[in-house]
């Protein structure tokens, strides 16, 4: 009996201890508040990225000594799976970096951020930037960067082929393709593997053809249209003519193993200058406006810091978001990551840079893509059909019709 009592006493003591620990928990020790932020390798160099946030946190803490900020940098791969399972397990961060097409999926978990930003900041964002982070009238994220995917050509390849002009339309690209093929070069690259997002591959062509993924009310898909067929026919012409590397239609090797890295591809629209600089050399990167068909448009994203509803201390998280997206911090972050500012007042960040300065000019020609709750699901049924068409298993019409048939039930 005595033994049982002593066991009970130990158990009670442990329980009491645990509850005391729990009581002292959430806000951090010594009355300090804490904020955890998850971000991804936006600055590609890991050391520089860590150094940036270490310095930023230090500077923030001089103004807010009672707020501890922990920035965790996760890999891009499988980031949604990691974030979604963390949120489901109540282990999610307080603040996280998201892009517009992720927002509808997390909308139930996001704390609108407008109240934590001052009105001068909010009115300083480009209108399309604000629109891309706003859902049902609520501003879900504080923009920190924008990106541009314009047309990027390898001057070395053009010199080797003896091609002195650069393409500005689909027809230009198709017209010069045989010349490149004859000399053993690809005129472009189409990354058709299913692991790729269509935002960087097929959608830009669809938009350039004057089409869109969804109807304007978002209740039906709109890619099964003349514009859709035109875009897919164009991509098929590139593939069927042998003007692109066909292995890229079904595989996604590291860039080092692609013909882009071997200086065998003339122009691409799915990569950024920082991806190719070490292979092409900065002096050989020629930035051009997006290709034009019916329209001249390209994909560009908006990176924003988003507060999750599970944030332990929303005021502290709000202060951190406001600071991390403030004019000075954001400018520093954007230049270090080679991205662009979402604010009007910033002006040019790269006036003296021939590559990024040129790219910066096309910020206004970008779109963030469909912001629709089922956008990724629809991409999931469209991508294999596009691949089937490019591999010659279906016509453009059959592929788009089949994708539309599979996509429609997803939209209810």
């Amino acid at each position: 009996m005595r033994k049982r009592r002593s066991v009970l006493a130990i158990a009670l003591a442990l329980a009491a201890g645990a509850s005391l620990v729990a009581c002292g928990g959430s806000g951090g020790s010594g009355g300090k508040q804490s904020v955890t932020m998850w971000i991804y390798p936006v600055i590609a160099d890991d050391t520089k990225h860590h150094a940036f946030w270490n310095d930023t946190v230090k500077a923030f803490q001089t103004q807010n000594p009672n707020i501890d900020v922990k920035v965790e940098i996760f890999p891009w791969a499988n980031r949604d799976q990691a974030l979604a399972t963390a949120i489901a397990g109540n282990k999610g961060p307080d603040v996280v970096y998201l892009i517009p097409d992720q927002l509808p999926k997390y909308v139930n978990n996001i704390q609108p951020v407008a109240q934590y930003l001052d009105s001068a900041t909010k009115s300083d964002y480009y209108p399309n930037v604000t629109k891309s982070v706003t859902l049902d009238g609520k501003m879900l994220g504080a923009p920190i960067l924008t990106s541009v995917q314009a047309l990027m050509c390898d001057k070395k390849v053009f010199d080797a082929v003896g091609q002195t002009t650069y393409p500005s339309t689909w027809q230009d690209l198709l017209a010069m393709a045989p010349k490149f093929k004859a000399k053993g070069y690809d005129v472009t690259q189409y990354a058709g593997d299913l692991s790729n997002t269509l935002n960087l591959t097929f959608y830009p062509l669809l938009w350039q053809a004057g089409g869109d993924v969804f109807s304007s009310d978002g209740k039906s898909v709109a890619f099964d249209s003349d514009a859709g067929r035109s875009a897919l026919d164009f991509a098929k012409q590139l593939v069927d003519g042998g003007y692109v590397d066909k292995t890229m239609l079904t595989a996604q090797p590291p860039i080092e193993q692609t013909r882009v890295a071997q200086n065998k591809v003339a122009c691409v629209w799915n990569l950024a200058p920082q991806d190719v600089t070490k292979f092409w050399g900065a002096e050989n990167i020629k930035i051009l406006p997006p290709l034009k068909d019916a329209k001249q448009v390209q994909y560009g994203t908006v990176g924003s810091l988003v507060m999750l509803k599970g944030a332990k201390d929303k005021t502290a998280a709000g202060k951190w978001i406001s600071y991390a997206t403030s004019d000075t911090v954001m400018k520093d972050f954007d230049t270090k990551s080679s991205f662009f500012s979402p604010r009007k007042s910033t002006g040019s960040l790269y006036a003296s840079d021939p590559v990024l300065g040129e790219l910066e000019k096309y910020v206004g020609l970008t779109t963030v893509g469909p912001i629709q709750p089922k956008a990724r699901d629809v991409m999931g049924v469209l991508a294999p059909e596009i691949q089937a068409a490019l591999l010659g298993k279906k016509s453009s019409d059959q592929a788009l019709r089949a994708a539309a048939k599979s996509a429609q039930p997803l939209l209810g």
Partner: protein, 315 residues
């Protein structure tokens, strides 16, 4: 008329009642209970882990299949809506077809290779142990690692394509060809799984009394007859076990598909578990993903029962 069994039961009960508990028996029962209790205590951690990480999630998954739960959202009861969606979903049927084709190819091939290898290393000779270890090595190799290596092996410039070229057969990347991607994945599966089957079959092979085979040999039975009339009947329970395990594993193929093909090209390797993963972790539709999981469970169970009623009927 009281029948014999009633009499027997009655007499048993009567005897039991009439028999007084002796202190020795009571002590023995106490010892038995103590042993049983300590046994249960040893099993308890494993049992708890099983309940928390296997049984609990399985039950939760079964319940979620009837809801519209999406990560971070609320779960609403939807009855059979997810199953009706399954029936109308061409992607589900395509994934089921791919999974069945994969299983039909992978299971017999894996079992045949496992049996062949088990027969090969059945007798002791110089280097048998090393050979057995080498054959078993793929089982303990990470499938992700294997997937990365086989992606290269089956690539257009990989050794498999070179071998095909040497043999005058169609070459190129098998994983980029929608007709060859499943055979490529099946070969990876055979490579990674045959060692496990081999181990089970080998254990059973070594239990076959040598006198039986010696007697058959004396009677003039050839190797095929000995295999058919002595080895195979003895192996039946082990073969049944391997068949059930391999079928279950094949129905659940995911890792190699994820690493090597992402379900492509053109959904030619888009299996049921890959569909489940896509729905759950790409589209966050856990209700629908759970419905796929439940359908997969039912199908695997039915196949295992059919196997039991055919292969395992003599056990």
């Amino acid at each position: 008329m009281a029948n014999v069994s009633d009499d027997w039961a009655g007499s048993r009960r009567g005897t039991r009642r009439a028999e007084p508990d002796r202190p020795q028996q009571r002590r023995a029962r106490r010892v038995n209970w103590r042993e049983a209790r300590s046994g249960l205590l040893f099993v308890l951690p494993c049992f708890l882990l099983f309940v928390v990480f296997r049984f609990g999630p399985a039950i939760a998954g079964g319940v979620l299949a009837f809801t519209d739960y999406a990560i971070g959202g609320e779960a609403h009861w939807k009855g059979l809506a997810n199953f009706r969606r399954l029936v109308d979903d061409p992607t589900f049927w395509s994934a089921l077809r791919v999974t069945v084709i994969y299983t039909v190819l992978a299971v017999p091939l894996t079992m045949a290779v496992a049996l062949g290898m088990a027969l090969l290393v059945r007798r002791s000779f110089r280097g048998t142990k090393l050979l057995r270890s080498i054959f078993f090595l793929p089982v303990v190799t990470s499938l992700v690692l294997a997937g990365v290596i086989f992606t290269w092996v089956f690539s257009a410039n990989g050794p498999w394509s070179s071998l095909m070229r040497l043999l005058g057969l169609p070459h190129g990347s098998w994983i980029a060809d929608s007709r060859l991607v499943i055979p490529a994945l099946v070969l990876v599966s055979v490579w990674s799984r045959f060692g496990y089957g081999m181990l089970i079959l080998l254990a059973r092979l070594q239990d076959i009394p040598t006198e039986l085979e010696e007697a058959a040999l004396t009677d003039g039975a050839g190797p095929v007859q000995r295999f058919r009339h002595i080895v195979l009947p003895h192996l039946r329970p082990a073969l049944f076990f391997v068949a059930v395990i391999e079928t279950t594993v094949s129905f659940q193929v995911f890792d190699t598909v994820y690493v090597m093909t992402s379900g492509g090209p053109v959904r030619a390797s888009y299996t049921l578990v890959f569909a489940l993963y896509d729905q759950g972790f790409h589209y966050f539709d856990l209700g629908y993903a759970s419905a796929i999981g439940l359908a997969l469970f039912v199908m695997t169970l039915i196949v295992a029962l059919i196997q039991r009623s055919t292969l395992g009927r003599q056990q």
